[in-house]
Amino acid sequence: MKTDASQSSASDEQLVEAARQGDMGAFEELVARHRDKIYARAFSMMRNEDEAVDLSQEAWVKSWQRLNQFHGESSFGTWVTRIVINLCLDQLRKRKRQRTESIEEMDEETGGVERQMPAVTVNPTERLERGELRKKIDAALEKLSHEHRTVLVLHEFEDLEYKEIARTMDCSIGTVMSRLFYARRKMAALLADLKTEELR
């Protein structure tokens, strides 16, 4: 392991510049700094440890190859995050093509059960301790379809606007609005411990 003190104190921009000149040590430092964040994003979308490790590794390799395309419009971490998100979406699309759609997936655009669900009036997370809340949110995200999960992740965690999500997910803004709305409604139900079966 390289523990060059000058590298650990250098900014991301300096490390990117060094990496562009072919300095693998600088790139290793960038990987070390952002690897958890990139892996976490891949895991949040794929919900599978092995796939998330493979895709985050692929994102790092791609980011090395495309370093010259990084012009600093966003932070380096955000830039690599976008790469891993695109890789995850590609993987999810491939996976979707390989299997038959389920009724639940057909319900995605039109809301399914959530269409008829009354609003959850009590804040279901009000009295939860932070760690507990995180666990509950994670468990609820696990139960969402990947389309719903992805749109929530991009909007709530990546702070993307509707049009950016539409571009990333290769769909219309209307589809983004629909998916986001029903994803939120499903989350509300899940956080309130309502099971969709109970709503039928």
């Binding site: 038959t100 759609e101 389920s102 009724i103 997936e105 057909m106």
Partner: protein, 164 residues
């Protein structure tokens, strides 16, 4: 070199003429089409003893769709030569269901049709699609209807006579 070019040109012209001739012939083609009205239910018995379970290949096709039921019964079957230049008379599938179908030709190896679906004599929908095409919707008491339209398999006309 010059003679090779002349030969190439000759064969290209031959190809061109034969394709034009084929195209003209094809424009007047019709397509044998089989239409099946199917009733899907989770009940092991059809209310009408005349309804027979669908054939294995049809059942497999239906089971590969997102909406699944345990049992599929054929309500009615029709096989028609569907012309390309006009619609047939309305094809009555049941007291409630009729189809109006027109052949739109072959596109990249896929047969295209225009289908108008009528329910209780009212137009429900119009589709321009490739075959096989499955139209479907909910029926009462948690059952469903399907209309499977596909290129008629060999011997379909004879089977139709037996079935109906």
């Amino acid at each position: 070199m010059k003679s090779i070019r002349v030969k190439c040109l000759f064969w290209a012209i031959v190809l061109l003429i034969s394709m034009i001739a084929g195209g003209v012939a094809r424009a007047a083609d019709s397509l044998p089409v089989q239409m099946q009205l199917i009733w899907a239910t989770n009940e092991p018995k059809s209310p009408d003893p005349k309804h027979k379970p669908v054939e294995a290949d049809v059942a497999k096709l239906l089971e590969n769709t997102p909406y699944r039921w345990k049992y599929y019964y054929e309500v009615h079957r029709r096989v028609e030569d569907v012309p390309g230049d006009r619609s047939l008379e309305k094809i009555v599938m049941s007291k409630h269901c009729a189809l109006d179908i027109k052949y739109l030709g072959n596109h990249s190896g896929l047969e295209r049709v225009q289908v108008k679906l009528y329910g209780d004599d009212k137009l429900v929908s119009m589709h321009k699609e490739t075959l096989p095409l499955l139209l479907a919707g909910n029926a009462q008491n948690g059952t469903a209807w399907f209309v499977l339209i596909r290129k008629a398999p060999p011997g379909a006309k004879a089977d139709e006579a037996k079935t109906n």
